[in-house]
Amino acid sequence: MKRGLILWLPLALILILFAVFWVGLHRQENHDIASQMVGKALPEFTTPAALPGLPGASTALFRDGRPRLLNIFASWCVPCVAEVPVLMRLKGMGVEVVGIAVHDTTPALDQFLTRNGNPYARIGSDDQSRIQLALGSSGVPETFVIDGQGRIVKQHIGVVGEGDIPELLALLGKQP
């Protein structure tokens, strides 16, 4: 009797293994990829202005003692529209939001800002995602909190919502 059970053991193990594979293959896996740059200095970059009316951005700007938000977005990015009102509120509270527009064009950006409002003090263009790659950012929208010394304090992946305001303000050293 005991011997019979042992003979079935390899088959049982194989079935368990296949069950694990099956679950692993069918699980909806699309998890956020956290940037390894959080806690480190903002990588060196200088980017031209994406729009004629607003200046571009560079790393040097972030070292002037004033904490800022660095928002990676694009006019073609549908969820980005949803966070504009929240960024506008933050702007109203005295937060400077620097935009990095990924794979964008001046007319499309212009239209985006006219339609949704403009929370940005500056917008730099990142046509080849070089800044995005240097930041370890894997999509749009993403928002980085940069302290006054040019260090990355936090990466917020996805749309910034109303509920994120208190935490962002705290990290930016502002009273709500």
Partner: protein, 140 residues
């Protein structure tokens, strides 16, 4: 006859000038001129995960960001970096997850140990079985 020859001559003279006016290649889609380096770059692209289309390597994705990653990989290899240096740079940005080649550490050790243990268990079972058969043979 003479006119086409003159035209051809003019073209031959003009060719280098035309070539110089062509913009620098966009390495997102264009191969490196050195075949050995291109081979290294392609091998690396096969083992780097596209961060927007997570199940695919950057070599097989149409996403803009995958093209941008291919461009950076080719540029860095063209500039003389080794594929593993480029991989390390990407890992320093996105973590181990960006690489399809997991590093050997305590957390990932089972990936190497389990097949080894399974092989040893199989050999042990085989040896035991053979010995058992021989014993039975001598008896019968």
């Amino acid at each position: 006859m003479r006119a086409p020859a003159a035209l051809l001559g003019a073209l031959l003279i003009a060719a280098p000038a035309i070539a110089q006016n062509v913009a620098a290649p966009d390495y997102a889609e264009v191969s490196l001129s050195d075949p050995a380096k291109e081979k290294q770059a392609l091998a690396l692209m096969d083992s780097i995960r596209c961060v927007v289309c997570q199940g695919q390597p950057v070599s097989g994705s149409n996403a803009d960001l995958a093209g941008d990653m291919r461009r950076v990989i080719r540029e860095r290899i063209e500039a003389g970096e080794s594929p593993e240096q480029v991989r390390a740079w990407l890992v320093s940005k996105y973590g181990d997850w960006v690489s399809f080649k997991p590093p050997l550490e305590a957390r990932t050790a089972p990936l190497w140990l389990v097949p080894l243990l399974a092989l040893m268990a199989g050999l042990w079972l085989l040896v035991r079985r053979l010995k058992w058969d021989r014993l039975k043979g001598t008896r019968g």
